[in-house]
Amino acid sequence: MVMDAPTPPRPLVLLVDDDVRTAQTLARMLREDGYDVDFAADGAAAIGRLTRDPMPDVLVTDMTMPLADGLAVTRYARSRRPNLPVFMITGNPVLVTRAPENITPAFVVLTKPLDYEIFLEQLRAL
């Protein structure tokens, strides 16, 4: 993992999803698998969290949410950390690939229902 701050013992994931119960279960499994997880329940809360340190090592966000969508959160996060790895989880991947601007580096699109094992592999490969 490439990082400009000293490497923390456990990577920090910022998880953004308005489906709170599901997100909390996901967070719990990620913690079991060796990650620290911060959680935000909508786009605006996620952007609020991103104004503060510590910056997460990975952003995992839902696409369709109230107040600000996954693309808005991604754009803001990248303005703070240009190479931040981003996973976008969506029920409609076509919507995401039609995103108005090219966001570079590209983010990973995961289709719901999330295949957790594959997701974990990708996370560990970072």
């Binding site: 489906d19 119960r21 599901t22 279960t25 996901l26 719990r28 499994m29 079991e32 989880i89 029920g91 409609n92 076509v94 289709t111 719901k112 229902p113 999330l114 295949d115 957790y116």
Partner: protein, 548 residues
């Protein structure tokens, strides 16, 4: 007739100087050539497939298989060394078969050229110093063979001319009072018009009738109307009513979903209108007027399918995306539950129950994905797609599945590759889908599935044949979304196949009897765009008018 051929044959044999030495050379040559017969035959039929007028005489794959055996036997006979009366009488008969099926004479020459080249090449490659002598013997014999086969075409023309004269004489002596104006109108009408006399014999056959049926006028005039033009199934359903009109018991009769038999032993859809109309100038008592609806029906069927798809598409695509959200929650929680149960060394039955729920969620997810594929397809990405590559790839992908199901997967590709303009991954999806269905259908019988790819003049035909129990009712809506007979089917597989094939301007048909079901996918070799462009140009120009 046979004495005529006999003397002619002796004379021709003398002309080309086919000698006993030639006969011996050719018999020896047979041993070298025989291992190549199979391959030559295959080349022979593939070449025919590229030419519309030649291909038109074929009636189906079963006939082609039979013909391939005939041709191998013919080559064997050609090099048998015995060139007597009986031999050439048979040659004349083979010629007559070709006249009868309506093979244009020119293709006898071109087809023979292929055989000649193939055989002389074998002589050159394998017969060493005897090659020049064998080549000469082959030239003599093959040209003799051609000359005799072509006699049949001459016999045919002579007898047709004679019949035509007879018919014209009859018309004159009865001084048919048909004014030239009406004759022209009947000729120019874009409607099939057949006039039938009180004995049920065809007396008038207009140009559109020739065009639709493929018969030429002088072949059908004087023959019985029903037997020549109406297929069995139509006679069964409407035969007595047709006879009623001919006898004047009924004045008119309409058959909207009627048929006509064609020269190539096929049928076309015709909307028939029969009218009892005796006149005093001629013998005709019944006019059968018909409109060829074959293409119309096909287009309508396609449009209907598209409409149905568009209607469900928009509404349901939105719903499908929404379903993925609860599925996401369910899948994560079930995984979480599974982990906890495993950690606590829970009862295996509990774990199994959790497994089942997990599988069901996956199945729902698959259903949603397939549905979206179908309702909101991505546009085609056209490239040249090699049928050889595609065929080999899909059979590789399915090899494991087939062997696990105890099904033998056979792939039968043409010698020469065919390249189709199409969307590679979608065509792959089509083949996988149809083949998977076939494998599943053949599982119970430990049967076989064949993927056969063949060239047609402007199309490629992809046949997937299985030995399963067959599709119960052929009019079952198998291409409709959510129609499924399989316990685990989503009912979308064939709908997607249908969609992709029609997007490629192709078609899909099925024939099924217990023990043999064959799906045939036909794709144009040209790009769909180029094709619709050409179709539009043709529409704008109107149908080509025939010379008069």
């Amino acid at each position: 007739m046979s004495t005529f051929v006999e003397s002619r044959f002796e004379e021709l044999k003398r002309y080309v100087r086919l000698s006993p030495d030639d006969a011996r050379l050719l018999t020896d040559f047979r041993a070298l050539a025989a291992p190549h017969f199979e391959r030559i035959t295959q080349e022979f039929y593939e070449r025919i497939r590229e030419h519309e007028d030649a291909h038109a005489v074929f009636t189906g794959e079963a006939q082609i298989a039979r013909l391939q055996r005939s041709l191998v036997r013919w080559m064997d006979r050609l090099l048998s060394g015995t060139y007597d009366e009986a031999y050439f009488e048979e040659t004349a008969n083979i010629g007559r078969v070709h006249v009868k099926v309506g093979l244009p004479q020119r293709y006898m020459f071109t087809a023979m050229a292929l055989i000649r080249v193939a055989l002389t090449r074998i002589a050159d490659d394998e017969a060493r110093e005897r090659a020049p002598a064998i080549r000469e013997a082959l030239t003599r014999l093959i040209d003799l063979e051609l000359a005799i086969m072509l006699e049949s075409y001459r016999e045919n023309i002579v007898s047709r001319l004679r019949r035509k004269d007879e018919l014209e004489n009859q018309a004159l002596t009865r001084s048919l009072a048909r004014s030239a104006r009406y004759v022209n109108a009947v000729e120019l009408a874009r409607v099939v018009i057949v006039g039938v006399d009180s004995a049920g014999t065809i007396r008038l056959f207009n140009r559109e009738a020739e065009h639709v049926s493929g018969f030429e006028r002088d072949e059908v005039l004087g023959t019985p109307f029903a037997a020549t033009l109406l297929p069995e199934e139509m006679l069964e359903a409407h035969g007595t009513r047709v006879a009623d009109v001919a006898a004047g018991r009924t004045k008119t009769y309409e058959i909207a979903d009627g048929l006509i038999r064609t020269r190539a032993h096929n049928v076309r859809n015709v909307h028939w209108h029969l009218a009892f109309a005796p006149g005093d100038g001629d013998d005709i008592v019944l006019f059968a007027m018909g409109k060829d609806t074959t293409d119309e029906r096909r287009v309508m069927e396609r449009a209907r399918q598209h409409e149905r798809l568009a209607a469900v598409g928009t509404l349901a695509a939105g719903l499908a995306h929404e379903i993925r959200n609860p599925l996401n929650g369910a899948q994560l929680h079930i995984l979480f539950l599974e982990r906890s149960l495993k950690r606590d060394k829970a009862d295996p039955e509990l774990l199994e129950a959790v497994d089942v729920v997990g599988d069901e969620i996956k199945r729902l997810a698959r259903l949603v994905t397939e549905f979206l594929d179908f309702a909101r397809p991505r546009p085609l990405q056209l490239t040249g797609v090699s049928m050889h590559e595609l065929g080999k790839r899909v059979t590789q992908l399915l090899a494991l599945e087939a062997s696990q199901s105890n099904v033998t997967l056979v792939i039968d590709l043409p010698l020469q590759d065919i390249v189709v303009m199409g969307d590679r991954s979608k065509l792959e999806q089509v083949m996988l889908n149809v083949l998977q269905n076939a494998i599943e259908a053949s599982k119970a019988t430990n049967g076989a599935v064949t993927l056969r790819i063949r060239r047609k003049p402007r199309h490629v035909a992809i046949d997937v044949e299985d030995s399963g129990p067959g599709i119960g009712a052929l009019d079952a809506p198998i291409y409709d979304a959510f129609y499924s007979t399989k316990p685990n089917g989503t009912g979308l597989g064939l709908s997607i196949v249908h969609r992709i094939v029609t997007d490629h301007h192709g078609s899909i048909d099925v024939e099924s009897v217990p023990g043999r079901t064959c799906f045939r996918i036909t794709l144009p070799i040209e790009a769909p765009e180029a094709q619709s462009g050409r179709m539009k140009a043709a529409e704008a120009a109107g149908r080509p008018t025939e010379e008069s």
